[in-house]
Symmetry: C2
C-alpha cells in the first residue's frame, strides 16, 4: 500500500511517498508551521506533494507533527494515553485537499503522569509506534527529549524534559556559561554526569545549585574553561536520566531514537547506570509509525 | 568611627559614609564594573567619594562586591570558608587612592560543599556578617540566591542557586513560558510550590520535566495562561528550597535578606515546610557587615 505522508514541524516541511516502510520519493522545504499563516497549509502541501496525489489517486494521506497544533493547519486535539495505533487512527482529524480528497492529521497525545500533572507530545507518538518496541522504554532525544513507556504495543505514559532547550538557553543567554571557551574538552561530559549524581535521591542539592557550581568551578580556577560546555551538557543529561529512571523504574535496556552524535551521549550516560541501549533512526521510526497508523486507518482491524 | 564604603556591583556604584551602622551620607550612579574599563575605577571612586576622603582624612575605606572580581578594580582572590570578620579583614586587598591613602577591597569567599565541588560569592559574605546571625541559616535572595550556614559568627558553608536568573531565562528566551499572559494570577505560585514537591526525594522526577509540564498544562487547557509565570516562579523557588534543606538540614528558622516582595515569596514557601522566617534589609545588613569588617581592620582583636 502506498501512502503519502508529511512530517510537518515547526521549522521544516518533509514529504514522503512510502510503500510499507520504504521511502519511494521525498521532498523537503523550510515551510515549517512557524513560517506560515492560517490558510496557507493546503496550498503549500499541494505545491510540494500534489504530483504524488495525482499519480496515486487511492493513496491515503497522513500528516504528523505541528500541522495539528494550534498554530498549524487545524488543531488536532490531544488523544489520551494509553494509546496504540488503533487509538491514534481513530482520532485522526481530516482536512480537505481538493476534489473531495482528504488528508488526515495524526493527533498528539496528552498524559497525566500523576493526578493533576500534565505532559503532551506531537509527533513522538508516531516515532514510538515505529520503534519496534512492544514493551519497554523509549527515549526520543530531540530538543525536548521524551521518555515513553510502551506496554503491549501502546504508549502508556511519557515524560518530557527540556534538556536540549535548557542547554541552548544556558549557552546563548546565561552568565553561567560565559567563561566557556573553544575547543571544548569532551571529558567535561563525564564530569557533568558525576555532578548529576549529587542531585539524585533524598540528599539532592538542586539542579539550580549545580548549574551555578559549574561556573563557580571555572571562575575559582578549579575547572578548565574548555570543560564547561560539555560539563553543562553532562549535568543536564544526567539529571534528565535521574528523573526518568525515578518515574519509569530502571529497565535492563532503553531504545534511543536520535542522531548518532546525540544518541552517543545517552549511551554513555545510561551505561553508567548499567543500562543497555539500542539506537534507532528517528526517520525510520517515523516512516514505520506512519505506515502502521495508515494500515489501521484503512483496515481498522489490521 | 567613620568609614567610607562602596558597594560596587555589576551595574551600580553605591557609596556610603557611615558611622558605626548609621548612614550619614550616600551617593549612587550607574558606574557598575560592567560599564568600566581597567584603570577607570580610581577616577570614578574619587569623583563620587573624594569629598568624604577630604573631610575625613582618617576614615578607613572599604569596597565590596564586583570591585574585587576579575573585571573589577583589582582581583581580590577568594578567601576560604569558614570565615568570620577577622578572617575577611585579614584578606583585604589594597588599592592606591591618592596621597598615600588606600582603599581595601573585601575578598569574596570560596566554598567546597563536597570534595571537588565549588561555590563562590562576592558581597554576600558581608551581608551575612551584618545579618545579626551568629548560628543559623541565612538566605540572601538576589538574582542568584545564596544559602549561608553560620556557626559561631563565621560563614562555614554556602550554596548558590541560579533561581532568579533561570526565571528570567525562561520568561525572556524560552518556549516554556510563551503561553503566559497578563494579568498574572499570583495563585500560580502556590501551585508551583506543590509541583516542586514532586522533585523532592528519591522519586524526584526532574526539574527539567516539571518545567516542560508547566507549559503542557497550559497548552492542554489544564491551567490558565495567567497562572503560568507565577507557577514557574513557585516551581523554581520550591526546588531551590528542597535543595537547600537537603544540604543544610531543616532549621527552625531562616533569616531572609531580600526586598519585601521577594522575601514574601520565601516566607510563603518556607512556611509550607513549617520553617519560621525573619526578614531583614539587605542594605542594613551590608552596612552592618562593612562596619564589622572595618572594626576588625582597625583593631584586629575588636
Amino acid at each position: 500500500m502506498r501512502v503519502i505522508v508529511a512530517d510537518w514541524g515547526t521549522t521544516r516541511f518533509r514529504g514522503y511517498l512510502i510503500e510499507n516502510e520504504t521511502v519511494l520519493d521525498q521532498v523537503a522545504s523550510d515551510e515549517g508551521v512557524s513560517a506560515l499563516q492560517k490558510g496557507q497549509h493546503r496550498e503549500i502541501f499541494l505545491r510540494r506533494c500534489g504530483h504524488w496525489l495525482n499519480a496515486h489517486p487511492d493513496a491515503p494521506v497522513l500528516l504528523v507533527g505541528m500541522a495539528g497544533s494550534r498554530e498549524g493547519w487545524v488543531e488536532a486535539p490531544y488523544a489520551a494515553c494509553p494509546a496504540g495505533p488503533a487509538d491514534i487512527a481513530a482520532a485522526l482529524v481530516s482536512v480537505d485537499l481538493e476534489g473531495g480528497r482528504q488528508a488526515r492529521i495524526v493527533p498528539g497525545l496528552f498524559c497525566e503522569p500523576i493526578p493533576g500533572a500534565s505532559d503532551v507530545m506531537r509527533g513522538e507518538e508516531t516515532l514510538a509506534l515505529g520503534a519496534g518496541v512492544e514493551d519497554g522504554l523509549i527515549c526520543s532525544a530531540g530538543t525536548h527529549p521524551k521518555w515513553i513507556e510502551m506496554r503491549g504495543g501502546r504508549l502508556t505514559r511519557f515524560a518530557t524534559y527540556m534538556t536540549g532547550e535548557m542547554y541552548a538557553l544556558l549557552r546563548e543567554h546565561s552568565m553561567i556559561s560565559r567563561p566557556a571557551t573553544e575547543p571544548e574538552d569532551p571529558a567535561g561530559f563525564a564530569l557533568g554526569l558525576d555532578a548529576a549524581h549529587r542531585n539524585h535521591g533524598e540528599h539532592g542539592v538542586g539542579l539550580l545549585h549545580l548549574l551555578f557550581g559549574a561556573r563557580a568551578a571555572v571562575v575559582s580556577g578549579r575547572m578548565g574553561t574548555g570543560l564547561l560546555a560539555p560539563y553543562l551538557s553532562g549535568l543536564l543529561t544526567g539529571d534528565e536520566i535521574n528523573g526518568a529512571l525515578a518515574q519509569f523504574g530502571r529497565p535492563a535496556s532503553v531504545t534511543i531514537l536520535a542522531s548518532e552524535d546525540r544518541a552517543g551521549l545517552y549511551v554513555q550516560a545510561l551505561a553508567r547506570h548499567g543500562i543497555a541501549t539500542q539506537v534507532k533512526s528517528p526517520k525510520a521510526a517515523l516512516i514505520a509509525g506512519l505506515a502502521r497508523i495508515a494500515r489501521h486507518q484503512v483496515r481498522p482491524d489490521g
